[in-house]
Amino acid sequence: MPVEIAAPKIEVRASTAPPPQTDAKAKVAVSDLNFFYGRTQALHNISIAIPERIVMAFIGPSGCGKSTFLRTLNRMNDVIPGTRVGGQVMIDDHDIYAPGTDVVELRRRVGMVFQKSNPFPKSIFDNVAYGLRINRLTSSSSELAGRVEQALKDAALWNEVKDRLKTSALSLSGGQQQRLCIARALAIRPEVLLMDEPASALDPIATSKIEELIFDLKKQYTIVIVTHNMQQAARVSDTTAFFLLGKLIEVNSTEKMFTAPNEKLTEDYITGRFG
């Protein structure tokens, strides 16, 4: 995906402001991250700290690199040929790009929900059980069933599907499928949950269900959510990061971000002057 932006000519520079001080320990600490698709540089010197058990929202215009950045946090970009990463991503003081890192183990700890729901053509139960089975996280079938039930409850889907766990996941509605994908990610109890525009294809009712869900989930998980919808960012997140043209412009508490941002560019974007 080459980065192309039809935005007005704006001088962009990376933010020099330090990330906001929080009491919580940084779960994810990124320093000087650069990312390339072939020769195109998609991310420039990103440094950011994501504290534990909060919701952080990434906002910015299309093609600004927020999804790309999200995907560097569980090395999902590894599967795209011709990509290159420089810099450091520390999760719990371990550099995930260090040689010898177990990518499979990393992705078990850093779960991901995609923009388009992508259930497997299997039963509802088997979809949620997939991650548990391949990682051998349960020792008995009753434990497996319990974990699946808990994940479906956490994703606020249990009551709608409990009587038809054996039916195809593809028979669910779009909103249900997306909550199923969230349940699937939650089943393996990741420490960090990455959400790439999880509600962009959903109607307002399904969206509000997912937003409520995110609000509940932050008690247990560190959540990073990419969104195009600024109202959504304002509703669900504690901290917001603003990206533009592959650079991180500003990170601030969501409240401050939407009322009195530090950077002029952030204010211009949020008030709809471009993007």
């Binding site: 569980n74 999902m76 599967v79 040929p81 499979v104 183990e105 992705r107 078990r108 779960g111 991901m112 995609f114 388009k116 992508n118 259930p119 497997f120 053509p121 299997k122 997939y130 991650g131 391949i134 990682n135 994908c181 699937r184 990610a185 393996i188």
Partner: protein
């Protein structure tokens, strides 16, 4: 009535001519097929009997049948499917899931070239590498020759079917901590399974009509098969031998055998249709 201008009348006339032309071509093609099918049925039905289906060939004037050839054809299909389907499917998986770089391109080119090799060349090749060293024709050699024809067909259809599985599904599985091989075997291949089965059936239908590669490998036999290590009869070779014989009785039997072979291929094609329909 509306008045039409010159350009409008011209357009309508062109349209009418072209519609008629395509319709005529379709009629001609379908008509030829129908003539072939009905002619075979008309010629073949006379010699068809239960005895004909279960007996083995007898000398001229004593009747006989094609039971051994039916069994032989099925044995050959089993051997060729046993080798050809797993190999072809594995190559298809490699092309779609693993070999994305230069090597994948080379393999794809080789597979495409293999598809285009005339089947008699495959027969001669197997004759040279299996029949000559073993010093006799065998069912095994015939099965291998048919398998060689199947592999590229199965490989390419498998590759195409796997490529239809959305990339997001692979990413979903990877994001749950699944290693590549489990993504491929546990998610991607099952998702494409109906399509892969269709490709396999088409390959089986294709080789069930092959004669040339069997002439120097399975050779043919007038008896029911007793081992895979000896020559074996097949419908196609039997038809060939009877058709070039000088006896009217054998000609009639060749027609009947053709009808049986055609029904077999038709049956496989109907199964393919059934599988394809289930998918959509």
């Amino acid at each position: 009535m509306t008045e039409y201008g010159y350009a409008d009348r011209r357009r309508r006339a062109t349209s009418a001519v072209m519609t008629t032309l395509t319709g005529l071509c379709t009629l001609l093609a379908v008509g030829a097929l129908l003539v072939i099918l009905s002619y075979i049925a008309w010629q073949g039905i006379g010699s068809l009997s239960w005895q004909f289906l279960i007996d083995r060939p007898r000398p001229v004037g004593e009747g006989g049948g094609i039971g051994n050839a039916i069994v032989g054809s099925l044995v050959l299909l089993l051997i060729s499917s046993g080798f050809g389907l797993p190999l072809g499917i594995c190559v298809g998986i490699y092309l779609s899931e693993i070999g994305r770089g230069r090597l994948g391109g080379v393999v794809r080119f080789i597979v495409d070239t293999l598809t285009g090799i005339p089947s008699i060349v495959t027969g001669v090749f197997v004759y040279a590498i299996l029949v000559l060293p073993m010093k006799h024709f065998s069912a095994m050699a015939g099965g291998v020759a048919l398998a060689l024809i199947m592999i590229p067909i199965v490989a390419r259809t498998t590759e195409e079917m796997l490529k239809l599985v959305p990339h997001s599904m692979r990413e979903g599985a990877l994001a749950l901590g699944a290693p590549q091989w489990r993504v491929t075997l546990g998610v991607v291949v099952p998702a494409a399974a109906p399509g892969i089965a269709t490709g396999a059936m088409l390959a089986i239908a294709r080789v069930s009509g092959e004669t040339a590669p069997l002439l120097f490998t399975a050779f043919g036999s007038r008896f029911f098969p007793e081992s895979l290590n000896e020559p074996i009869a097949s419908l196609t070779v039997q038809i060939y031998n009877y058709a070039i014989s000088p006896y009217d009785e054998w000609h009639a039997q060749a027609w009947a055998a053709t009808l049986v072979l055609m029904t077999l291929v038709l049956g496989i094609n109907i199964i393919v249709r059934f599988l394809t329909r289930k998918r959509f």
